[in-house]
Amino acid sequence: MEVDWSVVPGFLPQLLAGARVTILIALAGLVGGTVLGLIAGLMRAYGGVILNAIAFAYIEVIRGTPIVVQVMFLYFALPVLAGVRIDPMTAAILAIVVNAGAYIAEIVRGAFLSIPRGLTEAGLAMGLPQWKVLTYIVGPLAFRRLIPPLGNQFIVSLKDTSLFIVIGVGELTRTGQEIMASNFRAVEIWTAVAVLYLVMTGVLTFVLRLIEKRMRIL
């Protein structure tokens, strides 16, 4: 079979629909993951023994297991264990939230702890409570250091959505797989899928660059 690029436009609407699902999972997952990661990371950095231990356990379990296993667990094992049935889309978003959250927690912890101790002391010495020191002094500085590794994680998570093919979510990779199964146009379809991923990660990189520039990394 010869390579024939003219077949691609015909499948484009279908592929774009798949890409939309990918974006939806990634977006919802990363917003949730960032919130979760922020909480877990601050628990690690500033929490007492108990909060620290909870966050540590969460991070270790998630980082120590593959995301495919995590999503399978959410989709297939949870109904058995807890009697909760969730649809594939919810399972996918939840998996990204939980998974990205663990990695982002470590990024957050690292960024906050990298801010010189003296600045925290200067804030405390004025009579500010710890939370105000974190909100007004350390937080804004840590945020600047957060952006590059956070961008990395966003890209990893966006690509990780392709693994949800295992629970049948109609995202981009799954869509490519389905088209392939009907016409065997491997070169054309997988190239198109790869290019669409590149466009998505490219836009993400561009947006992060923009934020970085505006924030002026200190």
Binding site: G118, E121, M126, G127, I137, P140
Partner: protein
Amino acid sequence: MSIIEFRKTSKHFGDLKVLDEVDLSIETGEVVVLIGPSGSGKSTLLRCINGLEQITGGDLLVDGVSVRAGAKQLRRIRQEAGMVFQQFNLFPQMTALQNVAFGPRKVRGLPRAEAEAQAMQLLEKVGLAARAHHPPSALSGGQQQRVAIARALAIRPKVMLFDEPTSALDPELKQEVLNVMRELAQEGMTMVVVTHEMTFARQVGTRLIFMEHGKISVDGDPVQTIASPPNDRLKDFLQHV
């Protein structure tokens, strides 16, 4: 009542005893200069006053409030005791003016305009009104430390604590910082200063304390003490600074 009162105050870091049952009373208006070899506990003594180090034995009262009376009381103490650090510790994301206005805004809840007007006056006082809108990175070390002094003054403290304020500065920059401190002392500010600047100690200090192994070994009038050190350890120390 003394403004600062150490009562058999001890501080341990694990097994290491950094302050060993220190008794010390500091009165309003005093300029106490703390000297001593490194590891003698002088910085720790200073940092216990505003609770940046927690005491592990005895008690320590600032303006009648114990540093052990809980988080809320400790914050009150910290608002009465401004601190200036060796490394300046200015907030790098803010201009000089914002640094100085920060405390009044976030601690005392002053509106921004009012806080900044007050901050401008303090910057004028330390001779840096012209640099108000520069970030710390655009200021020299001496200028940064003067901004840091203004920032500490902005919360209207009763006592100023200085932790080796000129140790990170080039010789020619030290003087501008010491001059600001001298003016402050002349205005009657109560000050506790950890420093190696013996000229400052002699001219500005009202009291000189020499620390050794976590204890106060000499406590006296700066001029007399420096002219005729009461023990050999201090004599030896003074020859090396």
